[in-house]
């Protein structure tokens, strides 16, 4: 089995990791780095549960080979909180009911973060569009839209302060 040793930058930290060359970013995150906050629902790029940010863009980590990620900036749900304080998106998901079973939550949060990083005041239609590749079977999405709106509001207030 071909293995490769590589340095990956995950949540701002450089990590040296040895993995089989066929492994996806999802598998390396979960199985080699024990970052199990990123979930899988299909491993075929259909559900969005495994979304992480690579260089700030939402990427389906089940479709991305870890090999392709050398030197790139990878962000996962584990890197979202600010120390012990929740990121406004995390707090809003918890407060608004944006997370029921929690399985799609990591992918939703990272996708929403990419949106708010670019568009601090998205319309509800934009929010719906941005997360349309992330499936959720519990919430019916509405409380997720509300959570993203609440987080956007708080982030804008923080930015002004």
């Amino acid at each position: 089995m071909n293995r490769v040793r590589m340095t990956l930058r995950v949540n701002g930290e450089e990590q040296e990791v040895l993995f089989a060359t066929y492994k996806t970013l999802l598998e390396v995150l979960r199985e080699e780095l024990n970052l199990t906050g990123t979930k899988h629902g299909c491993e075929l790029g259909e559900c969005g549960a495994c979304a992480v940010l690579v260089d700030g863009e939402p990427v389906l980590s089940c479709l991305e080979l870890a090999l392709q990620c050398e030197g790139r900036d990878i962000q996962t749900v584990e890197g979202l909180a600010r120390g012990t304080e929740l990121h406004p998106l995390q707090a809003a998901f918890a407060d608004c009911g944006g997370s029921q079973c929690g399985y799609c939550t990591s992918g939703m949060l990272m996708t929403a973060k990419a949106l708010l990083d670019k568009e601090p005041a998205p319309s509800r239609e934009r929010i719906k569009e941005a997360i349309s590749g992330n499936l959720c079977r519990c919430t019916g999405y509405q409380q997720i839209w509300e959570a993203i709106e609440q987080a956007a509001q708080r982030l804008r207030t923080e930015a002004k302060a």
Binding site: H40, L44, S99, R137
Partner: protein, 817 residues
């Protein structure tokens, strides 16, 4: 003073009713919550299942020698290692962890490989040589009725009929003959699946003391525990099942799964941890979802449209195994008389085995199908008689504290309020029929149970139990076997105990779903957890509170019954300045009584019906819902858009409105998926390939479900009329709100374009076909055209309460009544 264990009556609440972050909200938002596939143990091996490519075949031989010799393979298991069958219901023990002798559907597990990693296991599956002799297959219940041979199972009623039953409450033919109008309609409800975002996973290991531990994404650790003991032929006390937080269940993780037995057996054989995670395709084949059901409603009404009698016939496509089928069969009828007053009711149901993945319980279990039929038929009745569909329903909602014709006790009901509320919110009176071409409104209602009145296996023990343990630190630990699926059961548990003890829910630690530690709760199914676990929790909290009150009263110079618990403090009711902290009160109680602990348990009240079969349908309480849906139908494409949904749900009391509202919107979401697009449908491969019955769309991409862009805004009203049988009055909300969605949508399509699609999903092709018929002047309807001759048995005849009798079968004098 309260009777021992009786929770304190409260009118003002600290916690309950206030929107609150759920107790597990933080863990979910930071990715900290560990689901089954997130668990890793040293020396862990991985399992993969070899599944049958044939829908029905005799296994002539299995040669696993090459797989066993494959580098990295530790073990190969086949049906030889699993002689004992299992099944969630005692009357349907018809599955083996790995097939023995024959396979019954494409996807039936035949062998398992346990290897160093998943890739090696998958490669070794290819090296197992299985010789099959294909048998004739059964693709539908109609085919199953016509072809008694070959039998898929060697048990059941006859041929390929698994279950067949008939009940009659009062003379239905006589009532129909006297009715002003009789309506006869056929409906079909296609099967669909749960599609939880988390694929089933399980990790088996041997604990330090030699006991077996299975951590699994199961909704029902207790039933799984019993089945493991049976299949593995081990004492249950040497097995521990931990239900990991489920990444969604919706009923799909209720049945014990083949994979769970396989990894448990492998861990026992190898003495090493063994994990499995099903692929998404395997989850589609594991299924246990909504039964496809064909229905015939013959319904009599009086001149004002009120129901006089219903004769309901159902035909269920059961798939290849029993699963919950005996219960599912009942549920395609038994709750029908709960929503509206129905003087007489006849219900015949038949479940047929077919060579497809087994159907089982999905959110609403058996009830969405007849709900769809009845609510669409009521819409037709209203149109025919020139009545407002909302007024027609309001004229006949069941009364509080009444008995149905089938001897179910309806306790509290807020259905009339629900209807008034959705009529008001949606502007029903001003807008229905007046929205212009292609736009319409539809209304439907429903009722659902708050937990099944009897356990899946017969016993008289509690259905739920809760243990509380407090110590001088002020920590309150709550133990219960209930399983957190995302529905918020841990939050319900914490909030009820917090309210009873007057503390913040953040003080409480919930330990749930672990058969090695927690007292038994039957599981997260049948919308039973809030009511049953909740009542058990309040009983335990009531006992603890008495001890705390007795100890605190001495210090506060008051009587125990005057001690008040609120906002983390304990004080004398007559003098709130006379106070101590909750922590101080616990320390005083521990000093006075020793360690502070209590248990509470709950069993539902005895049901009034006495006839055989009366055990399915009774519940401590029923929830009610009403829903209005707005549609826009594109006459050129048949595409149905839903701009808005209004729904009112009679929840008794909303313990945490954020969660309650989330359950309602989530139910609407899942209902819209069933109404518009979701189908677990199968097709035959061409004979030159194999003639196999394969899933049409075993992937998330092709199995259509609503995305964020498809989901309409939902306006939710929670109707709060506390039910005396429920903890602080709280009824269920997990399943009921799904039920009115499908018929409300169908009725809205009719209001928009004047066509009836009498089956779900209501896809654009069906709408177009109905519109074409309308254009040609034909009956503008698409739906089933005929109902086969089903050999239903002679009905068990029971007199309705209004006609005398005592709820027993009337063996004689049926017509004399």
């Amino acid at each position: 003073m309260n009777a021992p264990g009786k929770p304190p009556a409260k009118t003002r609440f600290d916690t309950i009713g206030k929107p609150r972050r759920r107790v597990d909200g933080r863990a979910k938002a930071i990715g900290e919550l560990r689901f089954a596939d997130d668990l890793v143990l040293p020396r862990m091996l991985h399992a993969k299942l070899l599944r049958s490519p044939h829908p029905h075949a005799v296994i002539e031989s299995i040669d696993a020698a090459r797989a066993r010799a494959h580098p990295g393979v530790h073990l190969v298991l086949t049906g030889d290692e699993f002689p004992v069958p299992y099944g969630i219901m005692p009357v349907a023990q018809d599955e083996h962890a790995l097939a023995r002798g024959k396979v019954r559907f494409v996807g039936d597990p035949v062998a398992a490989v346990i290897a160093a990693d998943e890739h090696t296991a998958a490669a070794a599956l290819e090296l197992i040589d299985v010789s099959y002799r294909p048998l004739d297959t059964i693709a539908s219940p109609e085919e199953g009725l016509a072809k008694p041979e070959p039998r898929i199972h060697d048990y059941g009623e006859q041929g390929n009929i698994h279950r067949n039953q008939a009940y009659e409450f009062g003379d239905v033919e006589a009532a129909l003959a006297k009715s002003a109008h009789v309506f006869e309609d056929l409906f079909f409800y296609e099967g669909n699946t749960h599609l939880p975002m988390e694929q089933q996973a399980a990790l088996a290991s041997i604990e330090g003391d030699g006991k077996l531990l299975l951590a699994s994404s199961t909704q029902n650790p207790h039933y799984l525990h019993r089945q493991l003991a049976r299949v593995l032929q081990m004492p249950a006390a040497r097995i521990r099942v931990i239900a990991t937080p489920n990444g969604g269940g919706f009923g799909g993780k209720c049945d014990p799964g083949n994979h769970e037995f396989v990894v448990a057996k492998a861990a026992l054989v190898l003495g090493r941890p063994v994990k499995i995670c099903l692929t998404r395709e395997e989850v589609f084949y594991q299924h246990r979802g909504r039964h496809p059901v064909l229905m015939k409603f013959r319904t009599g009404v009086d001149a004002r449209g009120k129901l006089t009698a219903v004769h309901l016939q159902t035909l269920l496509d059961g798939g290849a195994y029993g699963s919950h089928g005996p219960a599912s069969t009942f549920y395609t009828g038994v709750l029908t008389p709960v929503t509206y007053e129905l003087p007489r009711f006849k219900f015949e149901a038949c479940r047929v085995f077919t060579n497809k993945p087994a159907c089982g319980p999905k959110r609403g279990h058996g009830t969405p199908q007849p709900r769809f039929g009845q609510e669409v038929q009521l819409d037709k009745i209203a149109v025919k008689l020139g009545l407002d569909p909302a007024e027609l329903r309001l004229s006949m909602v069941t009364k509080p504290d009444s008995l149905t014709a089938s001897w179910l006790r309806v306790g509290s009901t807020g259905l009339a309020q629900c209807i008034h509320k959705v009529v008001e919110m949606s502007g029903w009176k001003a807008r229905r029929g007046k929205l212009g071409a292609g736009r319409g409104l539809g209304l439907a209602c429903s009722a659902y149970m708050c937990g099944a009145g009897v356990s899946i296996y017969w016993n008289k023990m509690p259905h739920s139990a809760v243990q509380l343990l407090l110590d001088r630190s002020g920590q309150v630990t709550v133990y219960c076997g209930a399983t957190e699926l995302g529905q918020g059961s841990d939050d319900v548990l914490a909030s009820l105990v917090a309210e009873a003890l007057g503390i913040d829910p953040g003080w409480i630690r919930c330990v749930t779903g672990d058969t090695g530690i927690t007292p038994i709760d039957l599981g997260s199914y049948s919308s039973r957890v809030t009511i049953m676990m909740g009542n058990a929790a309040l009983q335990a909290a009531g006992k603890v509170r008495e001890q705390l009150a007795a100890a605190a009263a001495e210090q506060l110079n008051t009587l125990p019954e005057r001690v008040v618990f609120s906002q983390d403090r304990v004080f004398a009711g007559e003098n709130p300045g006379n106070t101590m902290t909750f922590v101080e009160a616990v320390a005083l109680a521990e000093t006075k009584f020793g360690t502070i602990s209590a248990v509470g348990s709950y069993a539902p009240p005895k049901a009034p019906g006495k006839y055989k079969g009366a055990g399915v349908g009774p519940s401590p309480a029923y929830s009610f819902s009403a829903c209005v849906i707005e549609t826009e139908v594109d006459a050129k494409t048949g595409w149905v858009t839903v701009p808005k949904v209004w729904i009112a749900h009679d929840i008794g009391r909303a313990l945490n409105p954020v969660l309650a509202r989330g359950q309602v919107i989530g139910g609407v979401y899942m209902g819209l998926g069933e109404a518009l697009m979701e189908e677990q449908a199968f097709r035959r491969l061409p004979p030159k390939l194999s003639g196999a019955l394969v899933h049409r769309t075993p992937s998330i991409l092709e199995y259509k479900s609503l995305t964020s862009l498809d989901m309409p805004e939902v306006e939710v009203a929670l109707i709060e009329d506390p039910d005396p049988n429920c903890p602080y009055g709280a009824k269920e909300v997990g399943q009921g709100p799904l039920l009115p969605v499908m018929p409300a949508l169908a009725n809205a399509v009719y209001d928009a374009v004047g066509v009836r699609v009498d089956e779900v999903p209501i896809t654009p092709d069906k709408v177009l076909r109905a519109l074409e018929k309308k254009a040609k002047g034909e009956l503008p309807r698409v739906g089933p055209e005929s109902f086969p001759a089903v050999p239903y048995p002679q009905a068990t005849f029971v007199l309705p309460p209004s006609e005398g009798g005592d709820g027993s079968e009337a063996k004689e004098g049926r017509k004399a009544a």
